[in-house]
């Protein structure tokens, strides 16, 4: 077994320095569109044909609702784009409700237990959550741990458009968690239903089933965006806006 010890040691440290430093390695994030200012962008927004209606025309430019953006790149690949494409991964937002209540308190800042529930996630979100636990991102160094039981959990992390049979399972899991607790929805499916929308088979977002505190947009959100979301949940990082508006700070 000594070969494995040697193998581990010779690999060196591969872990990202985020959040202390920005991670600049290529390929850590797909990036996302940002609203562009001007009448032309406003006109293009109407014609952009965004398949999920994430892009709309604002007063003076385009506007993007990240709860619906699925990184299809259709808007950025036209000859008359209504958006700019930005790199980065700090995407997580806080819900209105979380701003007034549901604080976890500072005891949880460096010791947080997370229960993950798959509510119909496609595999890409699952893959990215698995990566958060792996050497490149290693959430243990931040005091974040996956827990096998909801009884120990402070955070319920949910991915997927919330399929019918998973709704009761989600409620049961949430009820089994002791207070204080927070709910983090990751991926556009958990925020709005994504490409699956809402209907008989899917609730179309976690908000219909549980009170959501932190929302991580992205399809899928890359591992660093998930880390950012968890850091927002324990107030170690400021939340970002869910909607990108042209002209002035977005909300």
């Amino acid at each position: 077994m000594t070969q494995w010890v040697w193998e581990g040691l010779t690999s060196g440290i591969r872990t990202t320095r985020y959040p202390a430093r920005e991670e600049r390695a290529p390929g850590v994030s797909p990036g996302r569109p940002r609203a562009r200012q001007g009448h032309e962008a406003s006109r293009n927004a109407v014609a952009s044909g965004c398949p999920t209606d994430a892009i709309t025309a604002g007063e003076d430019g385009s506007s993007i609702d990240y709860r619906h953006c699925v990184h299809c790149f259709r808007c950025s690949r036209t000859t008359s784009p209504a958006v700019d494409w930005e790199s980065g991964y700090e995407w997580a937002a806080e819900s209105e409700m979380a701003r007034v209540a549901h604080r976890l308190g500072h005891f949880f800042r460096r010791s947080l237990n997370i229960r993950f529930v798959d509510a119909g996630a496609c595999g890409a979100c699952m893959g990215e959550v698995r990566q958060v636990n792996n050497p490149y991102y290693n959430m243990h160094r931040l005091g974040f741990f996956l827990t096998p039981t909801p009884r120990n959990a402070d955070i319920l992390l949910v991915a997927g458009p919330v399929t019918l049979p998973m709704q009761q399972a989600l409620r049961d899991t949430y009820e089994a968690m002791p207070p204080p607790k927070r709910v983090v929805a990751m991926g556009v499916c958990a925020l709005s239903g994504g490409v699956f929308g809402r209907g008989a088979a899917v609730a179309g977002g976690l908000n219909d089933v549980l009170p959501v505190d932190v929302m991580i947009p992205g399809c899928p959100p890359p591992p660093l965006a998930i880390l950012h979301g968890l850091l927002v949940a324990v107030e170690r990082k400021p939340p970002q806006p869910l909607i990108s508006l042209s002209g002035g700070p977005s909300r």
Binding site: V28, G123, Q131, G199, P220
Partner: protein, 533 residues
Amino acid sequence: MDESIAAPVSSPSAWAAFGDEIWQGRVRVEQVGSTNVLHCAVDKLAALCERLMSSGEHMFATLVVEDEGAQLLLTYVFYPVKGGAFTHVVIRQPISKLHVPSIAATVPAADWHEREAADLFGLAFDGHPRLGAFVLHDGWPESAQPMRREFDIHDRTSVPSRRDVPEPNRSLDAPGSFSMPVGPVFSDLAESAHFRIETLGEDVSRIAVRFFYKYRAVEKLAEGQPLDRVLLLAERFSGAAAFAHGLAFCQAVEDIAHVTVPARAMVLRAILAELERLRSHAATITGICNSTALAVATSQAAMIEEDLLRLSAFVTGHRYLFGMLTPGGLAIDLPDELCRQTAAQAEMIARHMARLHRLLRQSSSFLDRLEEVGATSSAAAALLGLVGPVARASGVARDIRALFPYAAYREYPPQVPIEMQGDGYARLRVFFREAAESAALMARLAARIPDGAVSLADIALCQGAALGAVEAPLGAAFHWVRLGADGRVLRYHITPPSFANWPGFQFAAEEFAFQDFPIILATFGLSNAECDR
């Protein structure tokens, strides 16, 4: 035995036999393009399917049910195991008479397909031992048949009220026996599914499964939608194999429109498909290392997977290759130099994988956990219609890339590795060998990329239906697409490899030690998102 029945059915002259007196004019043979379509009377269905399978030359691919209003159209798709033309057995049943004979007894691979169609269309397959409680869980309105025309999927009358406690249709009854329910919520990062493990002490006698916790009704959502929207669904119902499923959908559409994508797109598609296979296999290997709690190996494999995710994003902009495909080619062109860099990078990562494989082979404690675990015999794999790496680990070498070459695989045929033992270790070896071959294939493809456009300027859509067949990372994927006159999708049926292989898992997971359960699960590497759709 009658001569004509014993004759191999793949030879063209043999098809004439279906017109003769044995079938009493009840089977009509029609040639549609390269496909043999056998229009069959309902009472001859079972005999005809048995005849196709008995030659040992055909394999069941999928059952497509289409609601034509007054009647249901059932298409049983078979493919020759040595390549050639697909065979469709077609029957029609009026809405007033929704009874069809089950073929599951002679074609075990059709078992789950019939259960699915029974739930979604309200069809009764006479003779099938267990119908119902398959796709639809508690909470769906009584007698809901979501895939029937009149059902409105956007109607939110479904009520998730009761706790759905799955009851298997038979359970172990012996002194000291114990049933252990696992899921749908797991203790780690597993996908939602329910397993009922029936044990006598340390030994598990069998496992009953309840799936479709992740049923998002993708096929129903696609109906009436334009191609662009359906492509989003094809990519995102199983994000871990987004490119393969997107490609199967695009190929079906291109087949309907009778267009051939430019040579450059063919090669680039193959490069990206191999990149996805490489990454998916790295993820499966990570899962296998993790199931045996070999921490350093898990970390090493996970780093390889992340390297490949970053490489994918570096090349295409997206870590899971979303948004690259379009019917008629690719959405964006990739420079030749970038492709060569990518292939070189993939080969370097493949060398890391080879090193990991070597270290794992030297770890006897690891091999002990995998060897002779979850064994599937060659005969069982063929009978159950298993596909992909799982089938190839049991000596059944079916690879859509070799049987029905698409993209650039005709000019660049892949080497298909094969192992005979059929146990967990054989599956691990197949995953490693295929990953190495994918990297090598990428280098061969990137060495000579044809010039020219990467996409057709415009595709004239027409009415029609076609089957797109692709070797996804986990095995054969069949996408049936029917377009209406307005170019919108009328019917979309996805047969993912995980759907074909889960019955194989259930078969392999009999009579084993309790602690081997996660290992057998990991070596099959199956996805519930892909299976449930």
